[in-house]
């Protein structure tokens, strides 16, 4: 239609050539695109922003029916309220989550680096079988083996300990970590390594002194995944932890939601939500390149 129109009045006004028109049209489309994108972005940010705003209301205002849109005053009382919750307060549970997350990060890093290097650079009997065994962990999600894991942890007296929880988390980070680290090591030219070996380096010190620097992106990716996944995990933490003092953040927050004395403290709950999402957002925003690459690499390539 448009082009027909144009042809009928080719010289009229003489101002707009076909190319100019196309450029205007493209501009308009681009503007529309930004408009749509911005609208969607606002929708996506809304729940987080709304939760954050509410965590800054006074406790009374957070419970107002109907709710107010914006806080009338900005205070941190909801956060203080959360610290007074339970025996242990929010800080204690942040500590729990941090300990579990750090143990998981360190554990997955050590195991994935050693294992990835082993699978990438060495030949030994049964290598392929073992590699498939490790990767098959990915096929079978942990939800289906939680019951025996619980029974085992109880038997080892690791149930209800942060270490026990971290051990389980490490295991389920392993297939991804091993896969990624193996690929990272495979990408390092063999010559670098052989030269060092000839210089008399042991395998372990070679790995430590040279290779780690070369596979740093892989290491960062494994660390971010281990951190975010263990920090956020809910079901296993819910089952394995029975002592309230040892609850990780997500489980602790469901306690706040169920309301200890008959009413739910929504303000404190949103303060807790903000505390729980802040580290993940921070880690992601700072290191998102590694995270996204890992996600695509891990998902697409196997």
């Amino acid at each position: 239609m448009t082009s027909l129109h144009l042809r009928n009045r080719p010289a009229e006004a003489g101002a707009l050539t076909q190319q100019q028109r196309r450029r205007i049209r493209q501009r308009a489309l681009l503007l529309l695109k930004y408009f749509v994108l911005t609208g969607l972005a606002l929708l996506f940010l809304f729940p987080i922003a709304w939760s954050f705003l509410n965590s800054l209301k006074t406790p009374a205002e957070s419970l107002a029916v109907p709710p107010t849109y914006l806080p009338t005053a900005i205070v941190f009382d909801n956060y203080a309220q959360l610290e007074a919750f339970g025996n242990y307060g929010i800080i204690g549970h942040v500590e729990n989550s941090t300990i579990v997350a750090l143990l998981t990060v360190v554990g997955s890093l050590v195991l994935s680096t050693l294992g990835g290097y082993g699978f990438a650079r060495f030949n030994f009997p049964g290598k392929n079988l073992l590699f498939i065994m490790v990767l098959s962990t990915m096929m079978i999600p942990f939800q289906s083996i939680l019951i025996p894991l619980f029974v085992m942890l109880v038997r080892f007296e690791l149930n209800d300990t942060l270490i026990g929880l971290a051990l389980v988390y490490i295991t389920f980070q392993l297939p991804f970590g091993i896969f990624l680290m193996r690929n990272s090591f495979l990408a390092v030219p063999k010559e670098i390594e052989e030269a060092a070996l000839l210089d008399g380096c042991s395998s372990l010190s070679l790995l430590y002194r040279m290779m780690l620097r070369l596979v740093l992106p892989g290491i960062v990716t494994v660390a971010i995944f281990a951190f975010i996944n263990s920090w956020n995990e809910f079901l296993a933490a819910l089952i394995f932890m029975s002592d309230q003092d040892k609850f990780t953040l997500p489980v602790f927050l469901t306690l706040v939601r169920s309301g200890i004395y008959g009413t739910v403290d929504w303000g404190a709950l949103q303060a807790g939500v903000i505390v729980a999402i802040f580290p993940c957002l921070l880690v992601f925003l700072l290191l998102q390149r590694y995270y996204i690459n890992g996600l695509i690499g891990g998902a697409v390539n196997n």
């Binding site: 339970g86 025996n87 619980f150 109880v154 007296e157 149930n159 209800d160 089952i239 029975s242 002592d243 309230q244 003092d245 306690l255 169920s258 309301g259 200890i260 004395y261 008959g262 009413t263 739910v264």
Partner: protein, 416 residues
């Protein structure tokens, strides 16, 4: 053995012996105690105990929905608490699993052993041995708003005594204005409805379980159907606020406190809450009625037991004994409007002038507590058949389907 080893061994023995008398006294002993969240009554009691010096108790509050799960997991892990305040209906299951300390001899030696509330004591007994004593006493009854009764033209001093009278009162109160409702129940809370709804059936001579608790009588007992139809009528006529349908128990107490509800089921715990938080409400109470009269109540609350894995049985028992003593019952129970664990003290100097407390106490006289190892799975589980049956019948109106489902799933669970 080398001389050095002998010296070492002697030193160890000396240390142990030195430690023994220490642990027999209660100085320096720290015990853990678990409760489900039931308000600050337990906290006050434990604070009072800790303030006496001697052994200290640290409280851990477990949300009621998770109590069985957490307690079971802790027991399986060998980490059960020294003392546990257990919803009385779970006591047989925990005792059967061998997780509670047998305290028969200690209990029998009490001068007031026969004075402990019988329903609770019975739930604390398993195969003739005693494992728990009464602790928190909650008999269900109906609380009503006298102001609304008056506004509806009803006599606030003669509360209903039959289903029909209650229904009429509920209609009248709902008719006052758009904001008022005659009745309230927590439509998504399984335990709340065991506590306040089952007695409607019992008071009319019916039951959902056979006398030996080994079979479901939901489909065969006509009273069950009538009770479902009764609530359904109230729901259909809009005598109950719509928000009740999703109340998972978090508004079970607070809904009535808003002053717009005429009548609601509650327990002794409600009395203080309403008086403290809503002093302007004029409160009355009556027993949960049967269809044509009569009354019943759910004898609920908690029993208290000692974990079989405890290192401090003596100290734990000392706390239990102190809790049941005349002085504590008077100062920390009766004086605070709470129902005592002792029958002879149900009526006392504090309760005499308080009709609410008297109703709560006398409810126990008509009270009943089901004794079942699978009580949780039947009644209290938020995903259990009791709640599902109530929701399907009352909210959806499918009474036939509800009875069928209830009968089937009850039977399945009982037969395990």
């Amino acid at each position: 053995m080398t001389p050095r080893r002998i010296i070492f061994a002697v030193m160890i023995m000396a240390l142990c012996m030195g430690a023994l008398p220490l642990s027999a006294q209660d100085d320096g002993v720290s015990m853990t105690m678990w409760v489900r969240n039931i308000g600050d009554q337990v906290q006050e009691l434990v604070d009072a105990w800790n303030d006496r010096g001697g052994s200290q108790i640290q409280l851990t509050v477990i949300p009621p929905n998770e109590f069985v799960t957490k307690m079971g997991a802790a027991i399986a892990a060998g980490e059960s608490p020294d003392i546990a305040s257990i919803d009385l209906i779970y006591a047989p299951a925990f005792a059967a699993a061998g997780q509670l300390l047998d305290i028969t001899d200690w209990v029998d030696a009490l001068p007031y052993a026969d004075d402990l509330l019988p329903a609770h004591s019975e739930l604390g007994t398993y195969e003739g041995r005693k494992y728990a004593v009464p602790f928190l006493i909650e008999g269900s009854f109906i609380i009503y708003n006298k102001g609304l009764f008056e506004a509806a033209g009803l006599d606030p001093e003669t509360p209903p005594t039959t289903w029909d009278e209650m229904l009429e009162a509920a209609r009248a109160i709902t008719a006052i204005d758009d904001e008022t409702y005659g009745y309230y129940f927590a439509g998504a809370c399984a335990g709340c409805n065991a506590f306040t709804y089952l007695p409607f059936i019992w008071a009319s001579g019916g039951d959902v379980l056979s006398d030996d608790y080994n079979a479901a009588t939901i489909a065969s007992d006509p009273i069950v159907r009538e009770a479902l139809e009764y609530y359904r009528t109230m729901w259909e006529e809009g005598l109950i606020p719509e928000s009740a349908s999703i109340d998972d128990g978090s508004s079970f107490v607070s809904a009535f406190g808003t002053g717009t509800i005429g009548m609601a089921g509650t327990g002794a715990f409600g009395i203080n809450t309403y008086r403290n938080d809503h002093p302007d409400l004029e409160l009355g109470a009556f027993h949960i009625p049967g269809k044509e009269g009569g009354a019943s109540s759910f004898g609920g609350g908690d029993v208290i037991a000692i974990g079989s894995g405890t290192q401090h049985p003596q100290e734990a028992w000392a706390f239990l004994e102190w809790m049941m003593s005349d002085e504590t019952q008077l100062e920390h129970y009766a004086a605070r409007n709470r129902t005592t664990v002792r029958v002879s003290m149900l009526e006392n100097e504090y309760s005499q002038d308080d009709p609410l407390v008297l109703t709560a106490a006398s409810a126990l006289a008509v009270g009943k507590s089901p004794y079942s190892l699978v009580y949780n799975d039947l009644f209290n589980d938020p995903n259990g058949p009791w709640l599902e049956m109530i929701q399907i019948a009352i909210l959806d109106g499918d009474i036939e389907g509800a009875l069928q489902l209830g009968q089937d799933r009850f039977t399945q669970i009982i037969e395990g």
